[in-house]
């Protein structure tokens, strides 16, 4: 039972990285947009899905709290700085996307030509540029933060038998930094693939293709740093299982690069989605049977079974999840279906 819930937790977090990942990737690519009409197009592409994407994170943490309370406290507080960083990024993006256009009247929103800062409309357009910078910064912070969290899980934390994690400096390592940068590049490629799929024109496919080598280089660097780090070598329980997943990650990126070059954004997006889901599976499988590996006391490492809530709680949650998870999924699928396809002049504009 605990294993199934661990899988479900991984599934929700992976779905968050895939779906929230293209929010943040698109957010990062706002930096490449030439004018406000371009930025508007990017946000309209994300449009209807935005609110439904990051709730996967909320649900994942809910599952973490309900089904793995022990892990929840120790994981979040054990990786405090990385989680706080990611959280700050998530908050900024959440607020900024929803609020960026709210002080503008529709006339200015649609035309977005008022650049003169002396008029009220001009000032508000400038105000929106500030929100846009917040989206870019927040997206970067969220991607870096979650990358560092995954890196932190792979290198273990100084967890003591009484359940407390010593200090916070342990997270600051070259490996965690490399993981953070790797996730940032993955998210950027993923965002470009999403925009190539949703927007007319080939600009984003080109950006995505150019980003693929960077992502591959980041993965290579992270792998090298990880192999050199004794903490990572000790924490990884099953290197044999990790290697195929790492190969899958590289293969997905290569496929994505090729598909974007050949004008197949659908395949490209599917491949980058795989690339964002694989790191979760990698962390989960590599440290199995542990959910949180201790670097100071092997006996203090938290196994998945120990981390799980006690029997009655899991049974209750399972009874609820059986009807609920398919229902949640079907509402999400409904949203994807209603707003499928490439956006055009008739797409509703709100953000």
């Amino acid at each position: 039972m605990a294993t199934i819930w661990y899988g479900l937790l991984g599934l929700f977090f992976a779905a968050y990285l895939v779906l929230g990942g293209y929010d943040y990737g698109s957010g990062l690519l706002l930096a490449r947009a030439r004018d406000s009409a371009d930025r508007r197009a990017v946000l309209t592409a994300v449009g209807p899905f935005f609110l439904g994407n990051e709730v996967w994170l909320v649900a994942a943490v809910g599952i973490l709290f309900g089904a793995f309370p022990m892990l929840e406290g120790e994981l979040l507080s054990g990786l405090y700085p990385a989680v706080a960083l990611a959280l700050a990024g998530v908050l900024v993006v959440t607020a900024a996307v929803q609020l960026r256009s709210r002080s503008l009247s529709p006339a200015v929103v649609v035309a977005s030509r008022a650049r003169d800062a002396t008029t009220t409309a001009g000032k508000r357009v400038h105000g929106r540029a500030a929100w846009d910078r917040a989206i870019i910064g927040g997206s970067a912070l969220a991607a870096l933060g979650w990358g560092a969290v995954l890196g932190g899980l792979l290198q273990g934390v100084p967890l003591h038998a009484d359940g407390h994690v010593e200090g916070v400096g342990h997270i600051v390592t070259p490996f965690a930094a490399a993981c953070a940068v790797t996730l940032l590049t993955l998210v950027a490629v993923h965002g470009a693939a999403f925009l190539a799929l949703r927007l007319p024109g080939v600009g984003h496919a080109r950006i995505g293709r150019r980003l693929v080598p960077w992502a591959l280089a980041a993965i290579a660097a992270t792998t090298a740093v990880g192999l050199l780090s004794s903490r990572v070598r000790d924490a990884v329980q099953r290197p044999a299982a990790a290697v195929p997943l790492l190969c899958l990650l590289v293969a997905a990126l290569v496929v994505a690069g090729g598909a974007l070059a050949r004008g197949r954004p659908g395949v490209g997006f599917a491949a980058t989605s795989v690339a964002l889901a694989v790191p979760i599976a990698l962390v989960g499988v590599a440290t199995w049977p542990y959910a949180l590996v201790s670097t100071v006391d092997p006996a203090a490492s938290l196994t998945v079974a120990d981390a799980a809530a006690s029997g009655p709680t899991l049974r209750l949650l399972s009874w609820l999840a059986v009807p609920l998870v398919p229902a949640l999924l079907s509402f999400q699928v409904m949203s994807w279906w209603i707003f499928r396809g490439r956006i055009d002049g008739r797409a509703p504009v709100y953000w």
Partner: protein
């Protein structure tokens, strides 16, 4: 600095900000359901204008509700890892259910509602809003189930210091839950009602062009506020009946208080005086009741609907305008009493607050507190400014629910008037 104090300050700050936004979310979504249903049934354009105007207001408010809500969820793990360690088996379940049943669905449906305008059939679009409203209430329901368990733990057994769930039904029939849920929901209705009435009054005072719409929403606001205040007081006073029994140190008579404190001291160590809440905790309760008795008079305005005297006399409009912030103040005061009154326990009589806080240094906690407080306060202030602008702009063509192919109402480059 003391990590415990900082963690408590951070929780109080985040929750207060969160509470201010979710009250409006819950209250306004109820009124939106009414407005859009009326539009669906009567097809009168005034209801469309009102749905779009109050819908925009609701969404700007929702942005911060969800942002602060995410912080709340993470804060349990970041700052209060003892809570998940000792009572997570029981306390975690309603929170997990809340995220899955309510938060998740609410946002997914809301995204479809915002962008589904003119794309979905009118009935399907309305159904989405009903879904948003139901999940919003479900969210309040499960959060209050979780909070009530902290107030009055039931349905568990403690083995080796860790609480295990034995009877989930007991969490739902918890004495601390029912009336409190009614109280919070009707407080949200009151807040929403006064907010709608206050903003409509402001628009009518400044003789906004859309008289028809704001006349209507003024009436809706006043009626909602009247119903809300009666309910909120009923559910509030009903809690006095049992509060002294389940939480003697919060609301018992002096004898019960002393007995409970002595009992806690015997079980957890220390002196009985350590187990009494701060002496000032009665003050927020008193002020909240005072505000409620003031706001209760709102029903007096209902007869003045006759021949629009409520508008023509002007005075009621000014009174409604100045009453707008009062429900927010009352809500924070009531929350302070409920949460501070159970100190020094985080789970009443079971887990002390100091045993639940994460074992980390003061510097980490201080950085987190200052960082997140500055970030959330900055976003909240920005949001309030935007809400004021939305309220000020009136019903003229909000972005929400525009036809994508509709021609623009004015030349795009024309600068807006300074105050519009």
């Amino acid at each position: 600095m003391d990590p415990l104090l900082l963690a408590r300050l951070q929780f109080a700050t985040t929750t207060s900000i969160h509470f201010l936004f979710v009250l409006v979310t819950l209250g306004l979504v109820t009124l939106l359901v009414y407005l859009q249903t009326a539009w669906f049934l009567t097809r009168k354009p005034v209801y469309e204008r009102l749905t779009r105007f109050w819908g925009t207001f609701y969404l700007v408010n929702y942005a911060l509700g969800i942002t602060t809500g995410i912080v709340m969820e993470f804060q349990f793990g970041l700052n209060w890892s003892g809570l998940s360690r000792y009572v997570g088996n029981v306390f975690g379940a309603p929170l997990a259910i809340e995220t899955l049943v309510a938060f998740f669905l609410e946002s997914t449906l809301l995204g479809m509602w915002i962008f589904g305008w003119h794309r979905l059939r009118r009935g399907a679009h309305l159904a989405l809003l009903y879904g948003v409203a139901i999940t919003a209430y479900a969210s309040a329901f499960w959060i209050l189930v979780a909070n009530s368990w902290l107030q009055h733990p039931v349905g568990y057994e403690a083995r080796e210091g860790i609480a295990h769930l034995t009877d989930f039904g007991a969490l739902l029939t918890n004495q601390a839950f029912g009336m409190a849920f009614g109280h919070v929901v009707s407080a949200a209705l009151t807040t929403g009602g006064f907010l709608v009435a206050g903003i409509s009054a402001w628009q009518l005072i400044r003789r906004a062009p859309d008289y028809e719409a704001f006349r209507k929403s003024l009436r809706i606001g006043v009626v909602t506020a009247s119903i809300g205040t009666s309910l909120v007081m009923g559910f509030g006073f009903a809690q006095f009946g049992y509060l002294g029994t389940i939480q003697p140190t919060k609301f018992g008579n002096d004898e019960d208080k002393a007995a409970a404190a002595a009992d806690f001291a015997a079980r957890f160590g220390g002196s009985p005086a350590d187990y009494l809440p701060p002496t000032w905790v009665g003050a927020p309760l008193g002020f909240m009741i005072l505000i409620a008795f003031t706001l209760m008079w709102v029903w007096v305005f209902i007869p003045f609907f006759y021949r629009d005297w409520i508008i023509r006399l002007k005075l009621p409009l000014y009174l409604l305008l100045i009453a707008t912030p009062l429900p927010f103040v009352a809500a924070i005061l009531g929350w302070l009493f409920r949460e501070v009154g159970r100190q020094p326990f985080v789970v009443y009589g079971l887990l002390r607050t100091e045993d639940a806080v994460t074992d980390t240094s003061g510097a980490v906690m201080l950085t987190s507190f200052v960082g997140f407080t500055v970030l959330l306060l900055g976003l909240a202030v920005a949001d309030w400014v935007l809400l004021a602008r939305v309220a000020h702009r009136g019903t003229a063509d909000p972005a929400l629910g525009r036809r994508p192919d509709e021609p623009l109402p004015e030349p795009a480059d024309r600068p807006e008037p300074a105050l519009a």
